[in-house]
Subunit: 471 residues, 4 copies
């Protein structure tokens, strides 16, 4: 509700699939809600461009050379103004694109219209049916005289469809770029099973993207999501955050800064020790469940907050999920006859116990940051730039550099994504002198971190049976 | 100067090598300053024990089994109360130990006395000569009827000595545990050159140790080191921190919290972007050098602060080094006739320009945290526990698990070190249910993080010549 | 828009003044939108009760004694669920109440209905005309057989009306409790002019209320207001905050915690020095206006951001006002032909310069925290409790304690308001022992701070002409 | 121990009172340790001058006019390099000075020598006896042909001496400037008793000084004091801070920032609520005394930490006092036969219970910040500047402006002190335009805050017997 909405309320109810539309140049190779909304969408795209300077910088560089010349990219992502900036950048770099939506609800119809008007073959609208969803994907790939040689996927549905329906297409495909946790998981499974037949780039786990999607983005969205739904005052509130990974760290830091008293639960002793050193009491959930005002899950695990805990929360306790999965809160356990559900606002339910106690459940246990907050354009810019560079890398890589495996974005390109975003902050990078580069044993242009700059690439051939491990 | 000192000022000047001393049980297989100081040293050890609960927990577990039974450990480390707790723990675990100092100044004579009184063969005193240093090491290994089968080294001098003098000894040695950056570097070079003839464990780069040595320890020691030397008030001061790795992050966080205005310089765009998101202006040094009150280097690089910058600093500017190397500030460039040096306190020099401007140089550009601050026992406890577990692992590993290579501490043991330190904080770890462990695909006892929980184990076969990198 | 709305969209357009309504007991002494909405309103009141424990605690104490027995309170405030909890508390304490709205837009119609159903004489609806506004106030006081003896005002309009129309009424009035800055200002002017004919209590300036309204509330609402309107990411953003009073301090602390780089402007050297010590660069606006991403005014002054500055801001700069007045940004100067205004969302305008530069103006320069955020119930609870205690104090004060003057809430009652809110945080106050109270020279029940616990009650007879002041 | 020490160790043991010394100009009207140390002292003074820019700015202004021309100031303060900068400033402003030490241990002999060499009549040395102390004070005032007309006192001993021995002297004295809590307390008692016969200025309670002495200074000195004495690591430690006034707020903020978990105790509900909103659990001491690692008192009260609590602390607990009084920890209760005291370092005692439990008592319960830390020159600069301006004000005030009463520093001068310190931070104050000044009703040069900018000058005629106060 907070994002701009330009939907013409007089829109007819006709399915886009039943409409015949053409853009102003007479091109009709698309399927969207309403081509007339193109002007509205163009303004949204222009505003987004201002906040995606990295892609704009890539376009500028592309005036000389076209690294995606000859690329035929089929994409399946959320269709928003930010995606449009990505698509138009890919086009400026030389690629041809066909695109579908990866989610039946998330398409901005006006933006889809602007893309269609601009000559892109887009097949997407807000409120697709399941059948529409696959139909749109199929329209992207099943087209005469055109065959994709690159895949940009978010969730793996497009990749799955091609595997299932058009496996031969992979012969010409140079690589897959995948953005989501789920899609990456699917690719690793394919790889393990020996069924991955082209190189794939896991852009989800690039350092830059991870830090922004998790730590920095969640640091802000936890506050935003809670405020928009409950108007709760953070000062003095007792909060328990389950999980102290990057998401948990972001949530804890933000709430501590706002004057909340934050408790942490963890299963991993290293993260647990970090929580201690960062000033949070490490507890088990049952030690604090009766006293906290807010419960936030960030574990990626299932059944972290079960009915037993929900029963013991105090009146008015707010419960929400910031993790990577919808399984953290056992919402199903609350669908029992003795409990009354009351929808008090969009995304906010009061669940009421027989004694009158009510807990405040947000987004029915789904991801708070996606449901009740917005993702800053800056974060989307990082994602989109990473996707563009991954496509360029896979498309231009010399034969043999990448096998039929899942790869992380090369560190140097990860650094490049970061560097493209520094001008936004008027940030000035220092350059190594020749003497310094030599002293450090580094190339002056990076990558700047030795391989062991990590949590250690631990030897993994260690079995679990050593004597002296924790009992 | 702040640590307790019990040195008998009437101590004679006789070299320990010329003395004949025996402990109360008639044992004389040691060489230390003065066996009469044993009682003082014992009290220091007892106090240290209270702050090293993890080692004490290992001792308790060793009442049932002796995982180091048969181990003959030769060690070369700083000889302090904390090391004594480690040595007595190794002994309780079943090991025999012989020990020398890795530094000619750092030995606590009273502690060495207590160890000798307790039956340890210690060869170390404060103020050894270069010749003494190697003589002590030799006495540890060159002994009839005893041959080491494990090495615990800090700096690589012991390892080097054995390589040089007694290479045959390696036939019986099951492994090396190395603690320092320098020693690890030497080991990797040996390994590269194909000359490493036993497995070695790099404990310097374990996650737990790194986080504590760098981020958490420096967060406190930057304040401590600056206060003890200069009594400077942090509030309102302008500070530039060169380098935003773990050390830089710790320094920046602490100074920001104390009300300083902090600028950051970086060469790595990913760390640079982190600095921006954490609220620090990213600058080049020359942009702020005239206005800052304090300059802190944390880069590991050389010549970060050169004469040109020193010339432009304002009157009273404090300059110090928190990095891993003494090369960051070009101190040599200040040893010129037109500049006057004035020693105003221990570790504090005023360097005075002809126009009267003075800068305050700390520790002559050496490491501030080592020279002007103390390392908390808690940090030493983590190091010592890691060393003990690494010894146990190498000693007990089944044939073939470790080759003639340098290994990081297995992630699970890293986690174990962390878990042993949680009780200090009265911290309660959550355990996975069977169902949750299955859902996550984890063993209930860890390791808890998948291999890709890092900055990404980037493909390293990428050459630097790709088209689309930064120009 | 974020608060629950239960307005029946099929509501007729008839003015409430033209309707004849009665509640279920046949009472018709009220004028509201629609009595049928009473059930909805009751639920809102019940939810608010849960977050206003201090008033509920006062009700409980009133079971024994009725400190407002005989009080006839006429009130003029925002009519919301929180006000309803206050009114029903006053009633429980023994008072009779008649009430009007202090703002033509802010009435929650459902709540007004619930109050009318509960027997309160309420005259208020959302969307009153100017004429309606005064008519409602008049209906509260101009009633046969009932004359108020206490006034609770928010803005001074009710007080003004009685002064103007029914000055004789003041003979029976024991006191005025005023909540707003504006109303307090009017009372001080009356007092100065010798026209204040009853004691008045300025509850706006109580310590507790001030701290919460300004520091603690703004610390959260600046983030909330900016997010809801612009979805801006705070990390790395450069922000200038004009004014470092309590509001400015709250804004600065919050933004710093979120990773923004914050600059401060100030006119008062004491506040300026505080800003320095808290880690903010103190600048003049023109030094940073070209580089900042966000400009926030918190001065209470006028023309702080004038056209000259607006002209020099960079593209996309966000401008908003958190101060106590709508005069801080010279919005009028932007209403010129060469600039284009574009409304992009509710409360968000893009003002576009001829060269395409756009700035993002929030709430047309009105108060961001009131326009684009919500006030937490906890803050309203403090205000309402303060109002209730002030009424009790003035009503029960022995003859002569209060003259015809404006008073601050007695410190002890201010402390009592605070103490009533501690249970919310499960906070446990320590009690002085007799010996300690004697040592400190304090009454065990407070007040706990000596009179000089302040910024010093400076001698005010100092003229401005002393030699040694700043030139 | 951290401050520079230049004492000639071959110093003879002769009492300064028995020595005949003259400075290089033949003047012998002083009594100090050793005039030969003057050069050393001069360097210390020069270094201090660099950090006291406000006094140096006053000197510059004094080139035109001499606001203290004719002033004869007798002073009794700590005699340090910073005091010397003050004295030489007073002299530059036109005053004649005679000076004694307010503490028998705190005199820097080298500085006293430099002052004597510079022509000041100084009577002070390190290690005076009680008798020496009063003899020195007497030598300042009991001198033929010179009678003071201004008093600058720190602790009230000088004032007391004149009252007792030379009451007639007050006829010529224009005012007293008093710096300490104790001295101010004595003055208020004199005033109450009607015995104060000249105006006195309480500079202890000026806003600027208070904020720096308490909040900002303690925020740093709590960390410094704890580190220098115990080397404790703050991360993860549980700490209870007793009292949440300015000192407590500073301690809590610093420790929270370093990763400690901080609990607060309070008796005042307003401060208690602030603690809650700032994110600290408000507890009673007995609730947490068994679990905390550090106990810090900041109450100004007595017997806050009594034997009962000390008995229940856990092994290794650190106990210290940051308050304004030495009474907060009942140290006397620890002087019992069953407890063993062990001095482990300067200012650090282990108190050992029969079962071996030891607590770590710092500075024997005296003020940690004074005993184990240093006061930054910047804080001393604020104090000294305030003293200088107070002397100027009292000396130049027109007849009748000040009565025989105790006054706070006029707000405008308080602001002036602050403004003189802004250049240190390169801070730029904004000036009001004429239009803005008029709008705010302020003089463009200040004072900038209306009188009610405080915790409210509460009506104090309220008795404690009102019905509706907390039971």
């Amino acid at each position: 509700e907070t994002s701009a909405s330009y939907t013409d309320s007089s829109d007819d109810e006709t399915s886009p699939r039943d409409k015949q539309q053409k853009n102003s140049k007479g091109n009709g190779d698309f399927c969207i809600k309403n081509i007339k909304q193109a002007d509205f969408g163009r303004r949204e795209i222009e505003i987004a461009e201002q906040e995606m300077p990295a892609l704009m910088a890539l376009r500028k560089r592309a005036q000389g050379e076209k690294p995606l010349a000859g690329a035929k990219v089929v994409g399946c992502t959320h269709i928003t103004a930010q995606t449009a900036v990505l698509m138009e950048t890919l086009s400026a770099l030389g690629a041809q694109c066909r695109w579908a939506a990866c989610n039946i609800y998330s398409t901005q119809n006006e933006v889809a219209a602007a893309l269609a008007e601009g000559g892109f073959s887009v097949f997407a609208w807000k409120g697709e049916s399941e059948d529409d969803f696959w139909w749109c994907i199929d329209r992207c790939v099943n087209v005469e005289g055109w065959q994709p040689n690159m895949i940009l996927d978010d969730g793996g549905d497009l990749t799955h469809w091609i595997y299932k329906k058009y496996p031969n297409m992979f012969k010409k495909i140079k690589g897959i770029v995948e953005e989501s946790v789920t899609g990456v998981h699917r690719l690793y499974q394919l790889s393990k099973a020996g069924k991955l037949c082209v190189p794939a780039m896991n852009v989800n786990d690039s350092v830059t993207k991870q830090k922004f999607d998790n730590l920095y983005c969640c640091r802000e969205s936890i506050l935003d999501g809670l405020k928009r739904t409950t108007d709760v005052m953070f000062g003095g509130k007792q909060v328990v955050v389950c999980g102290y990974g990057e998401v948990g760290k972001g949530c804890c830091a933000a709430l501590k800064a706002m004057g909340s008293i934050v408790y942490v639960t963890e299963i991993d002793p290293i993260c647990a020790l970090q929580a201690c050193m960062d000033g949070f009491r490490l507890v088990k959930l049952n030690e604090v469940i009766r006293q906290v005002d807010i419960v936030i899950t960030c574990t990626g695990n299932k059944n972290v907050v079960v009915r037993e805990y929900l029963d013991r929360m105090k009146n008015g306790c707010i419960v929400c999920n910031m993790g990577h999965s919808n399984t953290e809160i056992d919402v199903a356990s609350l669908r029992t006859p003795e409990l009354t559900w009351e929808r008090v606002r969009s995304q906010v339910d009061h669940v009421i116990w027989p004694d009158g106690k009510r807990i405040v459940l947000l987004a029915e246990g789904r991801l708070l940051n996606l449901s009740c907050s917005t993702v800053p354009t800056f974060v989307l810019s990082i994602t989109a730039t990473t996707q563009a560079l991954a496509l360029i890398e896979l498309y231009n890589a010399p034969e043999g550099r990448y096998k039929q495996d899942v790869y992380l974005l090369p560190k140097k390109m990860d650094e490049y994504v970061a560097s493209l975003h520094l001008p936004t902050f008027d940030a000035h990078l220092t350059e190594l002198s020749d003497e310094q580069a030599k002293y450090l044993g580094l190339n002056k242009n990076g990558p700047f971190k030795p391989n062991y700059y990590r949590y250690g690439s631990t030897s993994t051939h260690l079995s679990g049976d050593t004597l002296w491990h924790p009992a």
